[in-house]
């Protein structure tokens, strides 16, 4: 579903990604882990076609970036630590707006489905500015899956959420994964990543330093694997 080869990204003289190779099969849930400054967000922004690679190739659902960016964007949903929704619109108006941007047919039905999925059906006519951070993040997930994308990218979705909101978000993320979508999530929360993901990739110094499936972790836990990858 996602194929990245020898990806390089430079910002002026600073090289953030140094020949990164990455591949994800359909339906996989990959947790992309790494310390601050490892290049996780930069990598996700390139996958989302929000940033151009300096070198290398990126292919999503057989479409290459940046040439076929519009086709990729139609198959991609993105959730970041920013909700990407408008405070002065209601939850329903926000989704209606994005439904128009994506040219979604039967938008009304789809919006109701999505609001039910993220548990905000009762608040559909309330302004987003009255929502808690957790509710806004759930609506952001609703926005990201509104057009039924094959791939969903989550960039630190738990940032700024309290324990209750994080638990609710766990449920929504599991639902998104159960729907058969390919998911790539960056996170600093190893416990949550271990609970949700089927594969763990450690990004360090601009390359994937280690990769393991859940089964591949064996008897050790993710923390041990993470520490070993960064030490190596």
């Amino acid at each position: 579903m996602i194929k990245v080869k020898k990806l390089v990204k430079r910002f002026g003289l600073k090289t953030v990604l140094r020949g990164l190779d990455f591949e994800v099969q359909p339906g996989e849930f990959v947790a992309l882990l790494g310390p601050n400054g490892a290049g996780k967000t930069t990598f996700l922004r390139i996958l989302a076609s929000l940033s151009r690679p300096s070198m290398g190739s990126v292919e999503i659902a057989s479409y290459s970036l940046p040439k076929q960016a519009a086709a990729v964007r139609a198959r991609l949903g993105v959730v970041s630590h920013m909700p990407l929704i408008y405070d002065d619109l209601t939850a329903e108006e926000n989704l209606t707006f994005y439904a128009r941007m994506y040219g979604i047919e039967n938008a009304g039905t789809r919006i109701t489905e999505v609001l039910e999925m993220v548990g905000l059906e009762a608040r559909r006519r309330d302004l987003v500015r009255t929502f808690s951070r957790g509710m806004q993040q759930r609506l952001a997930i609703g926005r990201a899956v509104l057009h039924d994308p094959d791939v969903v990218l989550f960039d630190e979705p738990y940032t700024g959420l309290d324990q209750d909101a994080s638990s609710m978000l766990d449920g929504v993320l599991k639902t998104v994964a159960k729907q058969g979508r390919t998911v790539v999530m960056t996170s600093h929360d190893l416990a949550r990543a271990e609970d949700l993901a089927t594969r763990f990739d450690i990004l360090s110094r601009g390359v994937i330093a280690a990769s393991s499936t859940r089964e591949g972790l064996g008897t050790g836990n993710l923390l041990t694997f993470y520490k070993q990858a960064l030490a190596g």
Binding site: L50, R73, S80, R100, G103, R110, M117, V118, V172
Partner: protein, 237 residues
């Protein structure tokens, strides 16, 4: 929380250029209707400027006619900058610009949607300012020719302003950056608008006004084309 069953019929994400433009304009107008942040700021600023000029320039009726176009366009230009800055800041602060850029439409649709909403805000403010100005300065501003100049000038101003605001909003000093970037580029349009407006107000012959009108139209067309071509590069990292 309701557990959703797997959707069997996948919704087709068809991009539609014109619908996307309309959606962005609708979204901006709907949000502004609720918050009234942008129009009220532009309006209060405009009214303060014309009031200050009214007391500062205690002029006879003939002189007032000659300075009116300058006062009017200074007011529109500065108030317009406030609106442009705020309009793009709303997108950037909540990360919504990324939300727009993620949509599977040609990115120029985002630009044209923002131009339409920015133009609408500017025209609303102008529609309120013009009658107040007419009363304060005892000048009839409701002439078809003058209104056409105001429309053409506003189109040119928002066309360039929206493009430059989307550049300025990505800098840390965006509030300062927009006027610095914008005013040198809109000098031709402000001069043409002031001259054409002044021509209508002083009953100058059409042969004197026409070159300025042509300049306004040419500027609008050229900058719309330039913005259409470069917007994608301006907003991408």
């Amino acid at each position: 929380m309701a557990e959703q069953t797997i959707t069997t019929t996948r919704t087709k994400a068809k991009s539609n250029y014109w619908k996307a433009i309309a959606a962005i304009a609708w979204k901006d107008l709907a949000a502004e209707l609720r918050s009234r942040e942008l129009i009220s700021a532009m309006l209060v600023f405009s009214l303060l400027v014309i009031l200050i000029f009214n007391f500062a320039l205690e002029l006879d009726i003939t002189t007032r006619r000659t300075v009116t176009s300058g006062v009017l366009w200074s007011t529109f230009a500065f108030a317009g900058t406030l609106g442009l800055n705020r309009s793009m800041a709303v997108e950037k602060d909540r990360g919504c610009l990324d939300g727009l850029l993620l949509a599977p439409v040609d990115r120029s649709a985002i630009y044209f949607g923002k131009v339409i909403s920015n133009l609408a805000f500017m025209l609303i403010v102008e529609a309120i300012v013009l009658p107040i100005y007419s009363v304060l300065y005892n000048v009839n501003l409701f002439q078809p020719g003058l209104l056409m100049v105001i429309l053409l000038g506003s189109i040119g101003y928002t066309t360039v302003g929206t493009l430059l605001a989307s550049m300025a909003v990505q800098t840390r000093t965006r509030d300062v950056m927009l006027p610095i970037l914008l005013f040198p580029v809109v000098v031709p349009i402000l001069i043409a608008a002031v001259k054409a407006s002044g021509g209508y107000l002083t009953d100058a012959p059409m042969t004197d006004i026409l070159p300025w009108l042509n300049l306004l139209i040419a500027y609008d067309v050229i900058f719309t084309a330039i913005a259409f071509m470069v917007f994608d590069y301006v907003v991408e990292e």
